[in-house]
Amino acid sequence: MTMFLTIAVVVLIFVVIFQIAKASEYVSVLKGEDISRKQNNKVNGFLMVAFLVLGLIGVWYCNKLYFGKTLMAQESASVEGARVDSMLWITIAVTGIVFIATQFILFWFAYKYQENDNRKVFYFPHNTNLEIVWTVVPAIVLTVLVVIGLRNWFLFTGEPPKNHMEVEVTGKQFNWIFRYPGKDGAFGKKYYKNIDDATNELGLLWDDQLGHDDVITTTMYLVKNKPVKLIIGSRDVIHDVGLSHFRMKMDAVPGIPTTLWFTPRYTTNEMKEMTKNPNFVYEISCDQMCGNGHYSMRGVIDVVDQEEYDVIMAKQKPKYLTTFPEKDPSKPVDSVKVAAKMAEPATKPIAKL
């Protein structure tokens, strides 16, 4: 019913507008095209400046309403992200000035040079000096922006500091799996054909001893002020590890591991205070279309300080031990069985990292 009403109203509005338009066309024919064109010209010339003024007010108002809801109003949660922010401000300043100046000139000229019987048009087909100026000036400004940008880019994509930790992130439709290398600091090998959703979601190869202490989690725990390097992959389609609070992101591509590093500088609890939002969490948003559940592919990062981190990690059981509870040294086991299990996989070739 409301649907019908809406359509009826819309059609009515259309009819009215159409009638007015038709009538004004008749009037303009009666008055003579020249005169009516000049009248239209005046109206539209006025609307051009009106649009400029209202538009700039709108820009200001939009900023007033929404600036506080963007990340610009929050400090970057990573050391590297702070560089993104400062670059953002420089770019805003440069493009903002150009924006206001050119839009102003455009609509002002349109208004000022609207048709007028007394004006003699200035025949001005070209002017080499002017053209050189507005080729060279943008080129110089852009060079500056490129230099700033590339310095940051090489930092972001370069090697992380020596003291960094590593976490492996694997995307799948539609969630994230995190793996920590454990005490030995090295990841065990994995091969996708070993994947089994029930027992081995990453396809770890158990004949690689390095993997025996690897820990798999569903929340990513990071340490404040400790650089972290993410080793990113995917099990199925392309995903993307989107870390908007840290100002970083990187695709997760099946078959091609990628990396990303940054240094968190506030714990989750500190962020709760800084943003005055008790529900604040660091979220990983999937930023690459990956199927119908793309919008719900959410991961959570908990940034804590070193002590808390050690406590959390001490509580995690390596995947190897949860898969083979009988291997757990904290539980009594049949030693013969263990020896047999350990010997057997060594004969299998390790196909792939």
């Binding site: 064109r37 953002l88 040079y113 070209h126 943008p138 279309m289």
Partner: protein, 604 residues
């Protein structure tokens, strides 16, 4: 083959000329089919492209209204949606499957069917022969085929909407493995096969059209029409065609490999995949390879969309400022620079795919370099207005609107092109705002400008001015209200292609704004229907054009009869004596290209 075709038609055209001299009437026997359906007249083909494009614009626009309903009113239910969409809107609520199908189809048809075929198909066909002074295209037959390939592509795309598993729903960029594996998403089943077939047909259409445009511009200019006397529309359409001919085949090859991966067990793009409980045998492929092939077309594609609009805007601004375009040679130079650079920046869409950082830095440099010729164009347009005598015809208004939008959207390109910023903004609503303003809306404005300006030549009628002004003001204000605030959503990190934001602590603060945007989108859509009404009503009942040259323009199309027949000029094709922008020279309001240079005329 094209050479032969050109030669062939040359002699053909010569014959026409002889005929034309005596009488135009006995031309040939035209039936309804040969005149309106399988027409070989470039003007009719142009109208066919235009009207098919309009059909898709309405459908694509309607799709955006539907998915904006979901984003704007995620909690509301609309029972009538279930009536029209059936299982795709169970309980009056668009499902995620439907949402992604709508977004994907919207993107595909607007980029390719509306702004490529509808825009350059229409105006290249209509304007090239008329403005270079030719009787028709180099090969009218291939030209006709170009339209019919497009038509078939349209039919196939349309049919994909009705298959059981739905149309393709993996985004218009169709990245594999998502697009390669039916197990990854229902939309990647039959829907994707149809999508690929449709796009393949579309590529053929573009190539046939493009080769024809290039051949016509290079070989069939009338006497005196040197390259540097061509209107800027023609230069722009020329570079557009070159871009298309060189880049569409690369896309095509990308699609072929995708078809192989989908159907014949190859592993071009697939490696290490475990899906639906099964580890696939494919190893050693690269999903990134597809992205390179796609964006090698994809970036030039944005200029394929934009250049015709730039060309028409240059022409219309000059005509209605009653003043020459400023820096004609610089305009051609910047078009040329853009065309070259368009091939060298594709990887700026791939900064965060794990691209080699050094390679990334080269693409940053080249990308920001494009801003220079873009800036030149903007400053030249502004200077064209300066000290002119501006007439606000609806075409002129849209041309001015185009410049405003191109500035706004081009400037955010400088943000995104800098990889260290893109790492933050990539695939957020900031990108959506950027490319809609600079490519989507701006090119639509170029298209509207062209339609309002050349409608009198196309149909011998005027469009209603008042409706035109309403159309313009609502559309430009609406476009800014829709897309400007999206920059803020992007700066909050809000990802694009999300069906629902309510579960996200970081992105759920924009419900009100999303509702506002959706509401404005509906109003703007309704206004486009007003334009459509104006268009069809005016074809039949519009005010008749009674003068040959209603805008007082210099170019050749206005020297044809009010309703030119096939062959365009009844007598000989006029000879050209000067460039097309002698407005306000020596106190004369305009001097047509066909006027010989006077003995005491000043030099510029």
């Amino acid at each position: 083959m094209s050479n032969e075709a050109v030669l062939h038609t040359h002699s053909d055209a010569a014959v026409h000329e002889v005929h034309g001299d005596q009488s135009h009437e006995h031309h040939h026997h035209e039936t309804f089919i040969s005149k309106y359906v399988f027409s070989q007249d470039h003007k009719m083909i142009a109208k066919q492209f235009l009207i098919t494009g309009m059909f898709w614009a309405v459908l694509g626009g309607l799709m955006s209204v539907l998915f904006r309903l979901q984003i704007g009113y995620p909690d509301a239910t609309f029972p009538w949606l279930e009536d029209i969409l059936g299982k795709w809107a169970k309980g009056g609520h668009i499902t995620p499957e439907a949402y992604y199908a709508l977004v994907t189809t919207h993107g595909t048809v607007l980029v390719f069917f509306v702004l490529t075929a509808g825009l350059s198909g229409t105006f290249a066909n209509f304007l090239i022969p008329l403005q270079v002074g030719a009787r028709d295209m180099a090969s009218p037959f291939l030209n006709m085929l170009s339209y019919w390939f497009f038509f078939t592509a349209s039919v196939v795309m349309l049919s994909s909407i009705f298959v059981e598993t739905g149309p393709f729903s993996g985004g218009w960029t169709a990245y594999p493995p998502l697009s390669a594996l039916g197990d990854a998403s229902d939309g990647s089943k039959t829907g994707m096969d149809l999508w690929l077939v449709s796009m393949a047909l579309f590529v053929v259409s573009s190539l046939l059209g493009g080769l024809n445009y290039i051949a016509t511009i290079l070989n069939m200019r009338t006497k005196g029409m040197s390259m540097t006397r061509l209107p800027l529309t023609i230069w722009a359409l020329f570079f557009t065609a070159v871009l298309g001919v060189l880049s569409f085949p690369v896309l095509f090859s990308g699609f072929i490999l995708l078809i192989f991966d989908r159907n014949f067990g190859t592993s071009f793009y697939l490696s290490d995949i475990f899906i639906k409980g099964v580890a696939l045998p494919n190893e050693g492929g690269s999903a990134i390879l597809y992205q390179h092939l796609f964006w090698f077309l994809g970036h030039p594609e944005v200029y394929i969309i934009l250049l015709p609009a730039m060309g028409m805007v240059s022409e219309i601004l000059s005509v209605n400022s009653r003043k020459p375009i400023f820096g004609y040679m610089a305009m051609i130079g910047s078009l040329f620079a853009i065309a070259i650079l368009a091939f060298l920046v594709w990887a700026h869409h791939m900064f965060v795919t794990g691209l080699n950082p050094f390679l990334g830095s080269i693409f940053v440099l080249l990308t920001l370099l494009i801003a220079v010729p873009s800036a030149i164009k903007v400053f030249n347009w502004l200077t064209t207005l300066w000290r002119g005598n501006v007439r606000f015809t609806p075409g002129m208004m849209f041309a001015i609107g185009f410049v405003s939008l191109f500035i706004s959207g081009g400037l955010t390109g400088i943000w995104l092109g800098n990889s260290a910023l893109d790492i933050h903004l990539h695939d957020t609503y900031f990108v959506v705002a950027h490319f809609h303003i600079v490519m989507g809306v701006a090119s639509m404005f170029g298209m509207f400008a062209g339609i309002y300006h050349w409608f009198p030549k196309m149909y011998g009628k005027y469009l209603n001015n008042t409706l035109g002004y309403i159309h313009f003001w609502v559309t430009i204000a609406g476009a800014y209200m829709i897309f400007w605030p999206m920059h803020y959503e992007g700066l909050a990190g809000m990802p694009r292609r999300y069906y629902d934001y309510s579960i996200w602590e970081s992105f759920k603060q924009f419900t009100e704004l999303n509702r506002f945007i959706s509401t404005v989108a509906m109003i703007v859509f309704a206004t486009q229907l007003l334009f459509l009404f104006n268009f069809f009503y005016s074809i039949f009942k519009g005010r008749k054009v009674t003068v040959l040259n209603p805008w007082g323009a210099n170019t050749l199309e206005w020297t044809t009869p009010l309703r030119p027949g096939h062959g365009n000029w009844p007598g000989e094709i006029p000879e050209v004596h000067r460039w097309p922008y002698d407005y306000g020279k020596d106190g004369q309001e305009f001097i047509s290209q066909t006027t010989p240079v006077g003995a005491d005329e000043s030099h510029h």
